[in-house]
């Protein structure tokens, strides 16, 4: 069972040698499928180990019915797809090489598709919401690279990005939903949550968030637009994406958290509505499509609409029918996609209107895909028949109107499936068709025959679906699909489907215009347009504010000073300022200090008005000296000494630097227009005022030096064999500061040497 999770790793080793990648990948997929089957038959199994206990994250996986179903799909159909691509991919790459002139080994493909498979299996088994989220995003990553496989095509890259954005961003809702549950119940474990939760607003909210993530991934309205775009991927990817991975992951998630969802009536009704809308939108647009893969893509939207609809219907039938539907659909749809790929290989055409009558030239393919199509259209003797039977059952259980809706849905399916198959294989032969390799046909044949087998021996599939349904429904499910040769409502509905379906097919000329208009309206006002508009708008807006920033903000120190002032001002306003400020008193002893301060202030102001640079420096140093004198009057001779020495040194250095630069350059930009003087002056005033408020506000407080560190330092100084307390602080008590300070000095020397002297120490 765990071999499945290891699949990507093995694939990586295999992909180191391009030739080996395909068989190794397919082999792993096959093995994994068998392992899953055996695992399921032997009653499943579970692993539950702590992952990150600090966040209550658990690596909890269990192979229950639901997990088994989706794992089997992922690995089984994965196997078929891999066999198919072992032949398809080289052809595809050949075309691309012709188109672009570059060759690509394509090993990426195997790596990501196996990663896709592995994460899908992991997702199926995960029982912890965060773990679900992890695998969920892994599938998004894998699909991103697979959809964008043809990197040189703008279209595939844009489609890949779209798929990633839509599914990735909505995935965050899943995370939020999980966290809402966690905030309320303290666990991420789904089984535990099922036991703990009570119906209420919280479940609706959190469950709703999770469901949105699921719906987006399953390409339900209004998120459906990414899926048809994703057709830019190579065909095997599309087949896989639609039937067993990515899109299926959405309904898998809904199935997984269904025990929670069904506690909220609102959510179930929402699912109903969204399911119906998707059926209608997907189905109607599918009828108008001409490109094979596009038709199939819209059909997928519609088909998963069914599944969502059935979940919305709820109850025993709903849960079981949904699971069964997924199986049936996966078999048929993957076969049809692979058919489309094979047909395109043979004819080099992608549009239905340009091909036709291929049944005679490719009988086996026609038959196999015919079986698959019949399955999708729910004809008897195929597994598809039962899917519709269950659909009708579930709908009937809810009420007659729903049965009517189900009927209409089934009719749509029949119509577009017919259009696909008949358009490709019937009618007069058009264009040429080459022989296609067996590896492109065999998987279709196998899948097609499975569809038929399911039509006769339905029990294994039903058992799987029952198990899965039980996991979703959170109770045993007792639904047995079988043929009942009687006029039961289900059978009558099925017959009605065929009859109306035939009518619809025949009356195509009548309604096709309306359908096209509908599709066109969707393009004009649909969510895809909104997505593109939002993207463009954002980019334009971003450019706009960037222009503003570069033009008006870059290089503007004012953008620091003014907000700082505002912040400090806010702080002052927010706090009571009763008698915070004191003027303080000036005694006779203070006069020298006052004079020194005044001198410093005057010299500083003089700097502003000095034009010549040399004078400027001299005025600066006089301001420095005045400050040093002030220090002396503060009773700080050490400081005064160092200040004077440093001031001398820095004056010399500045003068030296000025000597290095020609006078003309030196004066560049020294004069600024009067208008700027006022603006800058007011900013400076704000800065000065801010400094004033901070200084006055704090200095007005009684100094806490009494009983503070300073007194103790003074007492302890003799202990350290010293008379000058300041020196002893520098060399002993706070020597760490000093050594840091001189390290800065040494670094400055090194820096100056780096900038001017190529880093050589002078």
């Amino acid at each position: 069972m765990l071999a499945v999770v290891a699949a990507p790793v093995a694939a990586l080793s295999g992909s180191l040698r391009p030739g080996l990648a395909a068989p190794v990948g397919a082999g792993i997929a096959g093995l994994a499928a068998v392992a899953t089957l055996v695992g399921w038959l032997s009653g499943g199994g579970a692993v539950d180990v702590a992952w990150a206990p600090s966040l209550d994250l658990r690596f909890a996986i269990e192979l229950d019915g639901l997990a088994a179903l989706y794992s089997l799909l992922a690995t089984g159909i994965g196997f078929a797809v891999l066999v198919y691509s072992s032949r398809y991919l080289p052809l595809h790459l050949e075309h691309e090489r012709e188109a672009t002139g570059t060759s690509d080994p394509g090993v990426r493909f195997y790596f990501f598709i196996l990663l896709f498979m592995g994460s899908m299996v992991g997702l199926a088994m995960a029982q912890d919401l965060i773990l679900v989220f992890v695998f969920w995003d892994l599938t998004a990553i894998a699909s991103y690279y697979l959809i964008g496989f043809d990197r040189h095509k703008e279209e595939s890259r844009a489609s890949a990005l779209m798929a990633l954005l839509v599914t990735g961003i909505t995935a965050v809702l899943l995370l939020i939903g999980a966290l809402v549950f966690y905030a309320a119940y303290g666990t991420f474990s789904i089984p535990e949550l099922v036991e703990l939760t009570e119906p209420g607003a919280l479940v609706t909210l959190a469950g709703g968030l999770i469901a949105v993530a699921g719906l987006a991934k399953s390409a339900q309205v209004p998120f459906q637009f990414w899926l048809p775009r994703a057709m830019a991927a190579p065909t095997p990817v599309s087949a896989y994406l639609h039937s067993a991975a990515m899109v299926a992951a959405g309904v898998l998630l809904i199935g997984r958290v269904y025990p929670l969802l069904q506690k909220s009536e609102v959510l179930l009704n929402a699912l109903l509505v969204i399911g119906l809308l998707s059926i209608a939108v997907g189905g109607i647009i599918a009828l108008t499509r001409n490109v094979m893969k596009q038709l199939l893509a819209y059909s997928t939207i519609s088909q998963y609409g069914y599944v969502v609809f059935m979940f919305g219907l709820g109850g025993e039938y709903g849960a079981m029918a949904a699971s069964f539907y997924v199986i049936a659909h996966a078999l048929s749809k993957s076969a049809l996609f692979l058919t489309a790929g094979a047909v395109t290989e043979a004819t080099h055409e992608t549009e239905i209107s340009r091909i036709g009558g291929l049944a005679r030239r490719m009988p086996l393919l026609a038959a196999a895909s015919g079986a698959a199509a019949a399955g999708l259209a729910a004809l008897p003797l195929t597994i598809g028949f039962f899917k519709d039977e269950l659909l009708f059952d579930a709908a009937l259980e809810r009420g007659a109107p729903f049965a009517g809706l189900a009927l209409l849905a089934a009719v749509l399916t029949l119509a577009y499936t017919w259009r696909f198959w008949s358009g490709v294989f019937l009618g007069e032969a058009r264009g040429h068709a080459e022989r296609v390799p067996w590896a492109l046909v065999a998987p279709v044949a196998v899948l097609g025959s499975l569809v038929l087998v399911g039509g006769i021996l339905v029990e294994p599939f039903a058992a799987l679906a029952r198990d899965a349904g039980a996991a979703s429904f959170d109770a045993p499910v007792e639904v047995e699909p079988a043929y009942h040769l009687e006029a039961s409502p289900e059978n009558l509905l099925a017959l009605a489907t065929y009859a109306i379906g035939a009518l619809v097919i025949l009356s195509r000329p009548i309604w096709i215009g309306a359908a096209r208009a509908f599709a066109r309206a969707g393009e004009l006002a649909g969510p895809e347009r909104a997505y593109n508009a939002a993207l463009r708008g954002l980019n334009r807006f971003s450019d706009f504010i960037h222009t503003i920033e570069v033009r008006d903000l870059r290089g503007r120190v004012a953008t620091i000073l003014v907000p700082s002032g505002i912040l400090v001002g806010l702080g002052i306003l927010a706090t009571p300022s009763g008698d915070v400020y004191r003027v303080g008193e000036v005694t006779g002893d203070d006069v020298p200090l006052v004079l020194a301060l005044a001198a410093a202030a005057i010299a500083t102001v003089a700097i502003i008005f000095t034009k010549k640079h040399v004078t400027l420096v001299l005025v600066l140093s006089s301001a420095g000296f005045a400050t040093a004198v002030a220090f002396a009057f503060f009773g700080a001779p050490d400081v005064a000494l160092v200040a004077i020495l440093i001031e001398t040194l820095i004056t010399l250095l500045v003068l030296g630097t000025l000597k290095l630069i020609p006078r003309k350059v030196l004066e560049s930009g020294a004069r600024i227009p009067v208008r700027q003087v006022w603006r800058k002056g007011s900013v400076a005033a704000v800065a000065g005022a801010t400094a004033f408020v901070v200084a006055w506000g704090t200095l007005s407080q009684p100094s806490a030096v009494e009983g503070g560190a300073a007194a103790r330092l003074t007492e302890l100084a003799p202990e350290a064999h010293a008379n000058d307390v300041v020196t002893v602080i520098l060399a002993d008590f706070r020597a760490l500061d000093t050594i840091g300070e001189v390290t800065v000095v040494a670094l400055v020397l090194l820096g100056v040497a780096t900038l001017l002297f190529r880093g050589r120490l002078p």
Binding site: L538, G697, R712
Partner: protein, 481 residues
């Protein structure tokens, strides 16, 4: 006692020695790598000790507490020390592998490390300032590394802005001393509660500005894009991955540990600033063309998340802030190193970084997002919770968009055609702008990417650290006993 000195001391002594040697010689380069490695290991050992046995303390000079400078390692400090040390280590390895171009580069990198370790391990506010200056001076010179026009410009802008920040911080230190009569963080925290609120608040505002500048928080960010785009890749990795941590750590330490009451008072302002930063940075990043520019603006946005978590506070909020800061450092390290390279494999590394920024598992970014959402849900009023969660969601959506728009534009190309030169840096080899970087360097970056993913896959150590750090802060005034 030795253990506490080692992270600071090793690179200090070695840097002093290497300053006298020619750093372009491979031997000197690898020596510096070895030194940083040793320092990093000592930080790891220290972290393990601290997590298991509680904080370590030492007063320099053997004097009583309050007289000498106290060094103290608690979980908050060692967490930041750990991640910063790792970032610097990888950036240095990257540069030494590619070939150092300046005599003094290794020494300066070692001193950045010394300064940072000092900042994270000191228990003294003035000592904090001194170490702060050590790492800043080294960073000013490093910013100009390689000395292209735009690099010199970047260095000048960086220096001026950060000097203003330093001065503002120095004023705050002086103010705290005036109000409490002490420089020891624990004593300051105890005594500041007795001071008047108004002056304390103005000091706190100064601290916010000083560290906001360091972080590149909106509206103090204007220097950041020019510097992050202009400087050499390994330097930007150090600036954004390690040096910016000063801001995050400083806000946590001074806000959460020393001035918790003022932090609670200023929470709305902090949250609003954080919000503005997220929106502004993300919106700017959306349409930028070069990866370096995108990530520079992204850095502005990412910082906002840290602020929000800090503003909400409490054990969960603080833990989220620490976690996000750590994850953000790792992302930036990886991304900026990848941006500096070209050739196959580089895209992989960038992609992992981009996934991390966007919060996609298993890259560790999702842990940060998770912690943030959790914090957002912790808000007292439901309306605030919803507003905040929506905001974080929108920010995340935008980060998704800008990360991958630029990824597609630059990296998602057929492997065989030479990738367009990533905008920022010059090639390692002299073989022209389109020549792939040396395989070893690219390999190292991929290994780094794998390590980053490993953090996401096995997040427990990181979570333990961030929870421990939050416990230090939520312990209230004075921090851990």
């Amino acid at each position: 006692m030795t253990l506490l000195s080692l992270p600071i001391g090793i690179t200090w002594v070695l840097g002093t020695v290497l300053a006298m040697l020619d750093g372009r010689r491979p031997l000197v380069g690898w020596l510096s790598v070895a030194g940083l490695g040793a320092s990093f290991v000592s930080v790891i050992v220290l972290s393990v000790t601290v997590v298991q046995n509680g904080p370590l303390e030492m007063v320099a000079g053997g004097w009583p507490e309050g007289v000498g400078i106290q060094l103290r390692a608690d979980v908050l400090g060692v967490t930041f020390a750990l991640v910063s040390s790792a970032v610097i280590f990888f950036a240095l390895v990257y540069e030494v592998m590619g070939g150092v171009r300046s005599r003094t580069f290794p020494a300066f990198v070692l001193f950045v490390n010394t300064g940072l370790m000092g900042i994270f391990l000191t228990g003294d506010i003035f000592n904090f300032y001194v170490f702060f200056e050590i790492s800043m001076v080294a960073a000013y010179v490093l910013t100009g590394y390689r000395e292209r026009d735009y690099q010199v410009r970047a260095a000048f802008i960086f220096a001026i802005v950060n000097l203003i920040g330093s001065v503002i911080f120095l004023v705050a230190v002086g103010g705290l001393y005036h109000l409490t009569g002490s420089l020891d963080m624990q004593i300051v925290a105890e005594r500041i509660t007795q001071a008047e609120l108004a002056p304390t608040v103005s000091i706190a505002a100064a601290i916010l500005v000083a560290f906001g500048l360091k972080l590149g928080l909106f509206p103090f960010h204007y220097w950041l894009p020019a510097v992050y785009v202009g400087s050499h890749a390994s330097v930007v990795a150090i600036l954004s991955g390690a040096l910016a941590n000063i801001g995050g750590y400083g806000l946590l330490r001074f806000g959460g540990d020393i001035l918790p009451e003022v932090l609670a008072l200023g929470a709305p302002v902090i949250i609003i600033l954080g919000t503005a930063s997220i929106i502004y940075g993300a919106l700017q990043a959306v349409s930028r063309r070069s990866p370096a520019e995108v990530m520079a603006y992204s850095a502005i946005g990412q910082v906002g998340y840290i602020l929000i978590a800090l503003g909400i506070g409490g054990p969960i909020g603080f833990a989220a802030a620490v976690l996000y800061a750590v994850v953000n450092s790792l992302n930036k390290l990886l991304l900026f190193l990848a941006i500096g390279l070209r050739g196959p494999l580089v895209g992989v590394a960038f992609a992992i970084g981009a996934f991390s920024v966007a919060g996609v598992p298993p890259a560790p970014g999702f842990l940060g997002k998770l912690a943030l959402f959790r914090t957002g849900l912790e808000m007292e009023s439901l309306a605030n919770s919803i507003a905040l969660v929506t905001l974080i969601f929108l920010g995340g959506a935008l980060s998704f968009l800008y990360s991958f728009q630029v990824y597609q534009r630059v990296y998602m190309k057929p492997d065989q055609t030479p990738p367009a030169p990533p905008m920022q840096t010059d090639p390692f080899s002299a073989g022209g702008p389109n020549k792939p970087s040396p395989l070893a360097v690219r390999g190292m970056v991929v290994v780094l990417a794998a390590l980053v993913v490993a953090v996401g896959v096995w997040p427990e150590p990181l979570l333990v650290l961030s929870d421990g750090a939050a416990a230090v802060l939520a312990g209230g005034a004075g921090g851990a006993p």
